[in-house]
């Protein structure tokens, strides 16, 4: 009865007793689960035609957490982000947001889903962050412009505002998208492979921005392939291969060998048993 926990006199004391000792992992997990999560997934299933992209994924993301979503290709990582962002509606199950976060979600799509040959300038792209505020007809004021230019200079892109997006390099374009995220000022930030096709120097800068957002208490979920980076910067991980294989502290997942450097990501794909389509044609994840 989670709604009663608030009425109990300090439940952690009651539960753990007075002795000061290092809390075990499961106790910490219990404490995290005690807080109302920023995002809660319940049995989320997504279908693409006959193919299941996500199968009954359940899990939660604590407010202010910095989570990496890892998994093999075709594991449904991008789909998971899209479901959370509200781009895709799940076939079954539901996604709940905490009251503070609802509607304040910023989403960075995969760069490949953005049409780079569209004839607009960098400033246009950054200003699209004002969409929820201005909508279709609101005019961009001098103040909006100033904010947009400020965000651009914060990611080191001052002087680029009139450049066409087709003229920007991959790293510059990614920085531009980070500037847009910055302007959206959202409680929940979803990033889909933000460091692909970005050089090491830019990655380091973008990571600093990410950590600053984390410090500001925003909930960040980031799809990543680089296990090194996950281990170094991301306290929480969410392991996905069609369904949730494991979630929690990154170091615990490494200890459990769920994540490890000599692990071939494809090994994560378990032989499908219960989630196999009834027609028995192909497994949705492996295509075999």
């Amino acid at each position: 009865m989670p709604w009663l926990w608030g009425l109990r006199p300090s439940p952690p004391l009651f539960r753990y007793g007075p002795s000061v000792r290092e809390k075990s992992f499961s106790e910490k997990l219990f404490m995290i689960d005690n807080l109302q999560p920023a995002i809660e997934l319940e049995n989320v299933t997504v279908m693409f035609g006959p193919r299941k992209a996500l199968h009954e994924v359940t899990g939660s993301f604590a407010p202010g957490s910095l989570t990496a979503v890892a998994g093999p290709n075709g594991a449904g990582k991008s789909t998971l982000l899209k479901v959370i962002a509200g781009v895709i509606k799940p076939a079954h199950g539901q996604v709940r947001y905490c009251r503070k976060c609802a509607g304040k979600i910023a989403y960075l799509p995969q760069t490949s889903s953005i049409k780079r040959d569209f004839p607009v300038s960098a400033l246009h792209v950054v200003c699209s962050a004002f969409w929820p505020e201005l909508g279709n007809m609101g005019s961009i004021s001098a103040e909006h412009r100033k904010k947009a230019l400020g965000a651009l200079s914060e990611v080191g892109m001052e002087g680029f505002e009139t450049r066409r997006i087709s003229e920007l390099s991959g790293g510059q374009f990614q920085r531009l998208l980070f500037a847009r995220l910055m302007l959206q000022d959202a409680r929940i930030i979803l990033l889909d492979e933000p460091f692909s096709a970005v050089d090491a120097e830019t990655t380091a800068k973008l990571i600093q921005i990410l950590l600053r957002w984390h410090k500001e208490g925003r909930t960040i979920i980031c799809v990543l392939h680089d296990l090194m980076m996950i281990k170094k910067y991301f306290p929480e991980s969410f392991l996905l291969a069609g369904k949730c294989l494991g979630r929690g502290h990154t170091h615990a997942l490494f200890q459990q060998k769920l994540l490890s450097f000599d692990l071939d990501m494809a090994e994560l794909i378990e032989p499908e048993t219960e989630s196999k389509p009834e027609s028995g044609k192909t497994s949705a994840w492996t295509g075999q």
Binding site: A85, V125, N136, R164
Partner: protein, 286 residues
């Protein structure tokens, strides 16, 4: 033959030429900006399919009530909507990709339309429906074309930001806007309205001529969508005037000559426009 005889007299002496020019200019104003968004959204093929899809509706209206305008408009819009919906569902629920479903439907609707018209009227009527007759645009048709152009210009003005953001980053818009599907529906509706209007002048087979071709041309001359839109209108009007004049002096069919002129402008732009053209490729610029 002086220059004024060549360029001005056809319009000043003949009312049907003036009327045709006016119809083309209005069509260009409403259609060419839509064409720019179509090329940017990579849905030129979808536009082609819709322009043919309106034929069965128009043909049915023609069989029921003859060559009267408003039943044809209504039938055309209805058929276009039906085909767009059917193509969407078929793409969604089968393994067919969008291009295959669109091609399927446009061939199907072309065949149905031709069959319906041929069963009642002769070849003259069929030719009129397929290729239009720009020199025979009457007052009623002019009213329809002007109305459609006004609606589509107004729609683009209101939904401009929506179309642009949806164009380069559809996922972002879907995350930020709860009613994101609305933009696509408005766009389809404007396009269909414009095609039904253009069908009066250019027929179902070439209704897209003044929509897509000037837009293709304009993209080679600028990288700023704020310039590309007016530029496409300018190219469309230029192609209309040139096509009408050439057809007047040489006796070629006017509708197809206008589309031919637009096509030549597009090809010339693709060869020697300043951006991403053949010329810029060989000069070593992007």
């Amino acid at each position: 033959m002086t220059l004024s005889e060549l360029l001005v007299d056809p319009f000043s002496h003949y009312a049907f030429m003036r009327r045709a020019l006016a119809a083309c200019v209005v069509l260009s104003l409403g259609g060419a900006p839509l064409g720019v968004f179509m090329t940017l959204r990579r849905m030129t093929l979808a536009g082609d399919a819709i322009s043919h899809a309106i034929l069965p509706g128009i043909a049915t209206a023609f069989v029921i009530s003859g060559l009267s305008l408003w039943p044809m408009v209504f039938g055309g819009l209805l058929a276009g909507l039906a085909v767009a919906a059917a193509a969407f569902w078929l793409t969604r629920f089968t393994q067919l990709k969008e291009d295959a479903t669109l091609t399927l439907f446009y061939l199907l609707s072309l065949a149905i339309g031709v069959a319906i018209v041929s069963s009642k009227g002769g070849n003259v009527n069929l030719l009129h429906l397929l290729f239009g007759n720009i020199l025979a645009v009457n007052g009623e048709a002019m009213l329809l074309i002007t109305g459609a152009a006004c609606v589509s210009l107004f729609g683009i003005a209101v939904f401009y930001r929506w179309f642009v953001i949806e164009g380069f980053d559809p996922d972002f818009l879907q995350a930020a806007e709860p009613h994101a599907f609305l933009g696509g529906m408005v766009f389809y509706f404007l396009l269909m309205l414009d095609l039904v209007a253009a069908f009066q002048a250019l027929g179902t087979l070439m209704a897209l001529g003044l929509v897509i071709l000037p837009a293709i041309a304009a993209r080679f001359w600028s990288r700023n969508i704020d310039f590309i839109l007016p530029l496409s209108v300018f190219f469309a009007i230029a192609a209309s005037a040139a096509g009408l004049l050439v057809s007047f002096h040489t006796g070629t069919p006017s509708g197809s000559t206008v589309v031919l002129a637009a096509g030549i402008i597009s090809l010339l732009s693709a060869c020697c426009g300043p951006y991403s053209s053949v010329l810029s490729y060989f000069l070593g610029r992007q």
